[in-house]
Structures are given as C-alpha cells and as structure tokens.
C-alpha cells in the first residue's frame, strides 16, 4: 500500500516518495479538529439541550435483549466537549513533538463527536441504533460495489467515471431479466453482464481508440441514462407488470451470527447481494495486494512501460480488469432493483455512482478504505432519515447537507493530497 503513509518514521528507508526525511509540521489535522471541536462545543454546550437521550440497542426480534442506554443530554454534551478539547490539545502537542496524530485518535474523536451529536439530537427521544446502522448499510451497498469497481479500474490505469452508468445499466437489466424469468439470480447475472458491457465500451474506446477516459466515462453516463430512460418509457413502463416487477431477494438470517447484539441484525440479516458484497470486498482486497493478478494489475496502473517490458500485455490486462470492475459495479446496480426498491425507475441511481467515485478517492484507491468511506456516506444519509422520523431540531435541509459538508472537511483536513495510481487516465501506446 504505497499510497498510504500514516505514520512518519524519520529514518524509514522504505519511503522513496519523500527524498528528505525532515518532518514537515502540518497543522491541517489540528485545524480540522479545532473546527470540529468549536462546532461541537457550540452545539453541545452553548446550544445544549436538556432531557434524556435514549439509545435503543436491540430490536424486538433479538434473542439477546440489551437494555436501552439512557444518557442525560446536557451532561453527555459537556463530557464529550471536554474530551474533544483534550484530543485537540493532544494533537497540538503531537505536532509540537513532531509526530502525526495517529489514525485511532482521529477515529475516537469522530466517534465521540457522533455520539455527542446523536444524543443532542435525540433529547427526550429514542434512537434505534440497529435500525440506523441497518439502513446505513443498505444505502452503502451500491456505493461499496461501485467503489470496488472504481478501485480495480483505476488501479489498472483506467479512470472510471462511468460507475453511475454501470449502476444504472445493472439496475435496468436486472429488473427486466428478473421480471421476465422470475429468477432474481438470473437478474443478478444480467446486471453483471450489463456492467461488463458498459465497461467494455469504456475499455474499447479508451484502450483501442485512445479516447480520453474521462470523456468516455462522462459520455457513457449520459448514454446509459438516455438508453435506460428511453427503453423505460417506450418498453418497460407500458408493460410494467411483465417487465418491471422483479422478485426480490429474501433476507437470510445467518444462524448464530445474526443473534450477536447490534452487529447481528445489522450485518447478518441481509439479502444475498449483501453477503456477496462482503465476499467481494475481501476478495478484491486480497486479490489486489496479495496475488499475482493484483501485482500485475497494479504494475500496469502504475508504470505500464515497465509492466510491458517484463512481458505483461498492458492492453489486455486493462481491458479484462475494467470488465471485471464493470461486473462488480453491475451487482451494485442490481441491489437497487432486486434488493432495496423492487422496481426500476428512471435515473434511480440518483448520483450514487459519483458518490462511489468520491469514496474511491476518499479511500485513496484502497478497497477497504473505499468501503469504509462508502459506509460513511451511507451512514450520513441514513442519519438524516432516522432523525427526520424522530423529529430533528435542525431544519431537515441542514441535516441532509451534513454528510457532504463533513466529507469536504474530511477530504480537506484529514485526507489532503490524494495520489492515485501513476498511470491512471493515461492510455498506453506500445511503440
């Protein structure tokens, strides 16, 4: 994982990217933490609310029932504000001592802020924690598939702006095929094929005809929106009962695992697509970093000339890996129609592909990090849903805005300069 250098070791011999090992004092993290702390104190103390916030940890169908956690809202706010201040102070001290704030410290900070915010918003109300997390995962599933496809595609050197198009194509074909055959599994297969088809156009134009990959990606999105929209109005909508009523995947409870408190209901009472997603994340991560396939893929994306020199066929490696990426994204598209919504609608992906792209960059082209970023986006969107149900004290628009604002802050303050695979976006012309 060459792109990730979280801890600076002054004499690390394995850091060829930074020629001088002098530690550069970076206040970015500290500034970001300070802004968040000020925000937290303002919200939790200055505009603090009174009451009792209840966190419901179990659903009624759980075997092991956890008691509800009741937090006195104002006190929780004060305690959390103090902790946030302490962490910010620690980060100041760390920068002075020429060290970087470790990732876990930032994570603790984020979790604390989140708990503080939740308890503030839920004064005298109850938040169903498993429901919140379950919904987050549901919203994140297509994003994760999209991000995985994006990671593979960019790692092999083809920028994939067409994630949105692949998702939409997958959603459309899976709805149609599953409705016609009444077999959700066939729908899943069709979605993968549709994703592969979109990918192959992307690959053919960018690898064979050397068209700029960003152009092809953007244009493919428009093309798929147009195609699916046209076919939807002309063919699907008039015969909706035949073509747009796909059977949905049933939820499968995994024995034992699904009874673990909190985690069980969230992760192990899901549909087949979600279980495929877990496998896909693991396989993509292992494949990219621990197999011959992954090594070749990354070498083609980082330095195609070197890869070519040692005998790797750059064009075909790119072509087939972009196609694989398309198949994975297609699965995410199928989740819209076979997993969550249950029917195809015009432009139903609603920008999910672009959020997935943001997750790829946010996750610095790493499958696990990209998955976490996608989960974060899913959580943030679902938080708004849950809070609007229990009645949020903030105007709903600001709640809806929050995930995007947090992302901007996080990208600007915590991630910073992200460096993609070196040859991503550049066609390789064998001389």
């Amino acid at each position: 994982m060459s792109t990730v250098t979280p801890v600076v070791q002054p004499a690390a011999p394995t850091a060829p990217e930074t020629p001088d090992f002098e530690f550069v004092k970076s206040w970015k993290v500290t500034i970001a933490l300070s802004i968040f702390t000020v925000f937290g104190i303002l919200l939790l103390v200055v505009f603090g609310r009174d009451g009792i916030s209840t966190m419901r940890l179990s659903t009624s169908s759980d075997l092991i029932q956890l008691p509800d956690v009741e937090l006195p809202t104002r006190l929780t706010g004060i305690v959390i504000s103090v902790l946030l201040l302490l962490i910010t102070a620690a980060s100041v001290w760390l920068v002075q001592a020429q060290a970087k704030a470790p990732i876990w410290l930032i994570s603790v900070f984020a979790v604390l802020l989140l708990i503080g915010f939740l308890s503030w918003a839920a004064a005298d109300k109850a938040i169903p924690v498993p429901g919140l997390l379950f919904g987050s995962l549901s919203l994140a599933v297509p994003l994760i598939f999209g991000a995985l496809g994006g990671v593979i595609s960019e790692r092999v050197g083809v920028v994939n702006i067409a994630i949105e198009g692949q998702l939409l194509a997958g959603a459309f074909t899976s709805a149609m095929v599953a409705s016609l055959t009444q077999q959700p599994l066939l729908g899943l297969l069709a979605a993968m094929l549709a994703g592969v088809l979109v990918s192959m156009v992307l690959a053919a134009f960018s690898i064979k005809y050397f068209v700029d990959q960003v152009i092809v990606g953007v244009v493919l999105n428009v093309l798929v929106v147009g195609l699916t929209g046209f076919l939807y109005s002309q063919v699907m909508a008039p015969n909706a009962e035949l073509l747009n009523q796909p059977p949905r995947f049933e939820r499968i409870n995994i024995p034992l695992l699904s009874e673990i408190p909190i985690i069980g209901p969230v992760f192990f009472r899901q549909t087949l697509i979600v279980y495929i997603m877990y496998v896909a994340v693991a396989v993509v991560f292992y494949g990219i970093f621990h197999t011959k396939w992954g090594l070749r893929l990354r070498s083609v994306g980082e330095h195609p000339q070197a890869a070519d020199t040692v005998g790797i066929n750059v064009a075909s490696t790119r072509f087939w890996n972009v196609s694989i990426a398309g198949a994975i994204v297609g699965l995410g598209g199928a989740y819209f129609t076979l997993g969550s919504v249950g029917a195809f609608g015009k432009e139903m992906t609603a920008g999910a592909g672009f959020i997935a792209l943001a997750a790829v960059i946010f996750g610095r082209w790493d499958p696990i990090r990209a998955t976490l970023a996608a989960l974060l986006f899913g959580f943030a969107s679902n938080l708004q849903n849950v809070l609007s149900i229990i009645g949020s004290p903030v105007p709903s628009e600001f709640m809806l805005m929050l995930p995007y604002l947090v992302t901007i802050f996080a990208v600007a303050g915590l991630v910073g300069q992200s460096r993609g695979p070196a040859a991503s976006g550049k066609p390789y012309i064998k001389s």
Binding site: K28, F205, Y209, F210, V211, D212, V214, I215, V216, V218, V219, L220, V222, L223, V225, G226, L227, T228, G229, F230, L231, Y232, S233, Q234, V235, H303, P304, Q305, A306, T309, F354, I355, L357, A358, I361, F362, P395, E397, F398, L400, M401, Y404, L405, T407, I408, V411, A412, G413, V415, G416, Q417, S418, R419, A422, G425, K426, P427, Y428, I429, S431
Partner: protein, 422 residues
C-alpha cells in the same frame, strides 16, 4: 491523433514520474485539428442512425407490422419510415424551422427557442471548458448555478434600483456568487490538496440543500406562500427581449457571445490564459517556469464558477423570470460537461456545441409532444455524437475511409521520437 502523446505521457524509465500528467485536453485539441470535418458530419449521421434504429424498434406500428413481415414486407418498411421520419422531422421543426406555420416570422420561432436553450449551455460549457484547459474537472455546475441564481435572483426581486443598473447589479452579484462557489473549490485544492472532483460533487449537494432551505424559510421565500419558490424577478432586472415580445430569445444570448469572446481572449491572448494553459499542459513544468500553480487553480476555478454562475443568473433574469425553485439548473450543470467535451474545450467549439445541444433540447420537447418519442433519445444521440467524434478511427473503420494524410504525418513524427527516446 491516437498516438501523438506517446513520447510526452510516458516518462522514461528511471526518471521519477511526475505526479500529475500533462493535459489530456491538449491531445484532444490536437485530435480535432488533425481530424477532418467529415468525421464530425459522419459522427452526427451515425448517431442519428442509431437513434433511428431505436425509434424504429420501439415503435408500436413497426412491431405490429413485423408480425406479418413475410406476407407484406412493404408494411414494415413503411412503418419504419413513418416512425423515423416523423420523429426526426418533428425534431427539426421543433428546433430550426417549422414549415407548417404560415409566415417566416412564425416559422423561424423554433430557431429562437434553440438559441434560448443554447444560451446557458454555452455559458456553463465555457466554464467547464476553462476548467479542463487548466487540468481541472469541474462537476460543480449545479451548485455554482444555484448559488449564482440565489444571490443574483435575490438582488433581482428584493432590491429596488433604476432599470438597467438593477440588471447589471443582479448580473454581477450572480457571477460573483458562482465565482465564490467555484473559487472555494480552487482554494480547497490549492491549500489542502482536496481533489476537485470530490469537492465539486459535495458542494453541489450543499448548494442544493442550502437553496432549498432558503426557498422554504430563508430570504428567498415568497411571503405568504408555501411553495418553495422565489418571488418573480422585478421588471427592472429582466433581460430585454432581442426580437420583440413574440420571441423568447433574450439579451442572455448576447451575453453568451460576449462570454465566448471573453473566454477566447482570455485563453489565447492574455497572460493569465497562457499560465492557465501551461498549468493544464504540465503543472510541474509550469511550476519550474515560475508560475504559481496553486494560484492558477484558484483563479481558474473562480473564472469557471463565474461563467457557470452567468448561466445560473441567465435562467433567473432571462428565461424564467416568474421565480425559481431549487431545480432551476435542470441538468444544465451536467450537460455543460458534454458540451465542453464536444467543443473540445475551445471557446468557439463550445459555442457551436452549445447551439447544437440547444437545438436537440428544443427539438426533443416537440418530438416528445408530437410523436410520443421520449426525449431521452436525445441524450442517446448526443452522447453517441461525442463518442464518435472522439474516436475518429472508429468512424473511419465503419465508413471504410482512408487514414487522412495530415494525421499520419504527426503520428510518424512522434513515433520516431518515441523510438529515439528508448
């Protein structure tokens, strides 16, 4: 041409690779100048053929007559002809000239509608193209348009000023709003390295919800109305009509022409434009040459946002002056990307691409109304045109055209360089 960039993109082995590549837009630029006009024409033809196939396949009459194809094949051909020619003539009559109307003055009306639709596409397309030339991908058109419309629109309906001055103030405030929203992205990129693709996408959503809130409870709300819609723009701030009240074409189109001239001047005649292009071609080389790359990012995003803001304010002061909602951008921010791509990021290219897309938009609506062909077909045709134009070898292969001589020459030159470099 396909192979022109070979010697520039691939660093030689052993040399530390630059973190960001040279501009792909430059390659694209060269592609269009070496490609012949015939490719563009054939690309449009090809796209229209694909569109025709789709229209024919999904047409009810065609499907019905295909059932008895072997007994009466003529029926099928007639049905296909009717479906396709009906759709395309509706497209033409809705966008350029309507022959069914009695007088020239009435018949030409669709063309003025085309130009009205084209106006914001040209403005926003110029903004996106400007970003491309500096090597930045501005997907934030939606947000920049919304903020521009919100600020400029507020001046338009809430402030009392004499006619003329009012318009100018609203216009300037709108452009500044777009520049502010775009410049924010530039500042974030320059100061923190945040990737502009992420920040522009996120700021789109932020702007959308911010404007939604302002329309519902903030200073954009119409007093005494529950509709999330702003009050109508005051007459003193409305763009004057260009061809009288019978036509919808307004002063915005003149602004689009001026914006095109300005962008052309900026990019190819000004000092700043030179620095922009240098950064777009190769930021590392530009830095070595003493250009402040970060400052260029901020300026470029401000100008890009300002141009897109112009598109936003154009909608509020010109096209729909009866008040606006949060959906006022109606996809223009994203269409602008395609327009910029089709125009090869060159100002006049963007201008004509914007008019072409405006024609598709105007004609698409009348095609949907007259023939029942969904307007989505327009998206398909548009995107296919861009795809085909971007890949001349494909078009040549389909029509079995020979490789043009001009293209070959540059290819060979670069191949020699590539060989020499090894």
């Amino acid at each position: 041409m396909s192979t022109t960039q070979g010697s520039e993109t691939e660093p030689r082995a052993g040399v530390v690779a630059p973190t960001e590549g040279p501009s792909r837009w430059n390659r694209m630029f060269r592609e269009i100048t070496t490609g012949s006009a015939i490719i563009s024409v054939l690309a449009v033809v090809l796209a229209l053929v694909v569109g025709a196939v789709m229209i024919a396949f999904t047409n009810k009459d065609v499907q019905a007559s295909a059932g008895y194809f072997f007994s009466r094949p003529g029926d099928l051909l007639a049905a296909i002809w009717n479906a396709v020619s009906g759709a395309y003539s509706a497209l033409f009559q809705g966008s350029i000239y309507n022959f069914r109307r009695p007088s020239f003055a009435a018949g030409i009306k669709p063309l003025t509608e085309t130009l009205t639709f084209a106006t914001p596409l040209i403005m926003a397309g110029l903004g996106v193209a400007l970003g491309f030339r500096v090597g930045m991908f501005n997907i934030g058109g939606r947000g920049q348009m919304l903020i521009a419309a919100a600020l400029g629109g507020w001046v338009g309906f809430a402030v009392d000023l004499p006619a003329g001055l009012h318009l100018i103030v609203a216009l300037v405030v709108g452009i500044l709003g777009g520049a502010l929203w775009g410049g924010l992205v530039g500042v974030l990129k320059a100061r923190t390295g945040a990737h502009e693709v992420i920040t522009t996408i996120m700021l789109n959503y932020v702007a959308f919800y911010l404007v939604s809130y302002l329309l519902r409870e903030g200073f954009l709300k119409t007093p005494g109305s529950n509709n999330p819609k702003s009050p109508a723009t005051k007459v003193t701030a409305v763009f004057p009509d260009l061809l009288g009240p019978n036509y919808i074409l307004h002063f915005g189109f003149i602004l689009a022409i001026l914006a095109t001239i300005f962008t052309w001047w900026l990019l190819s005649r000004s000092n700043l434009g030179f620095q922009f292009r240098a950064v777009g071609l190769n930021p590392n080389a530009a830095r070595v040459a003493g250009i402040s790359v970060k400052r260029m990012y901020v300026y470029a995003m401000m100008l890009s946002g300002g141009l897109i803001g112009l598109a936003g304010i154009n909608q509020v002061l010109g096209t729909t002056t009866s008040g606006f909602g949060a959906g006022l951008d109606s996809g223009i921010g994203f269409d602008a990307i395609t327009v910029a791509l089709l125009g090869r990021s060159k100002p006049w290219g963007v201008f004509w691409a914007g008019i072409l897309f405006g024609a598709f938009k105007a004609g698409g609506f009348s095609m949907q109304a007259a023939e029942g062909v969904p307007i989505d077909i327009v998206l398909v045709v548009q995107s296919l045109i861009v795809l085909f134009i971007a890949a001349p070898p494909l078009v040549r292969a389909i029509f079995r055209l020979p490789e043009p001589g001009a293209g070959r020459r540059t290819t060979q030159v670069n191949v020699t360089q590539e060989v020499a470099a090894k």
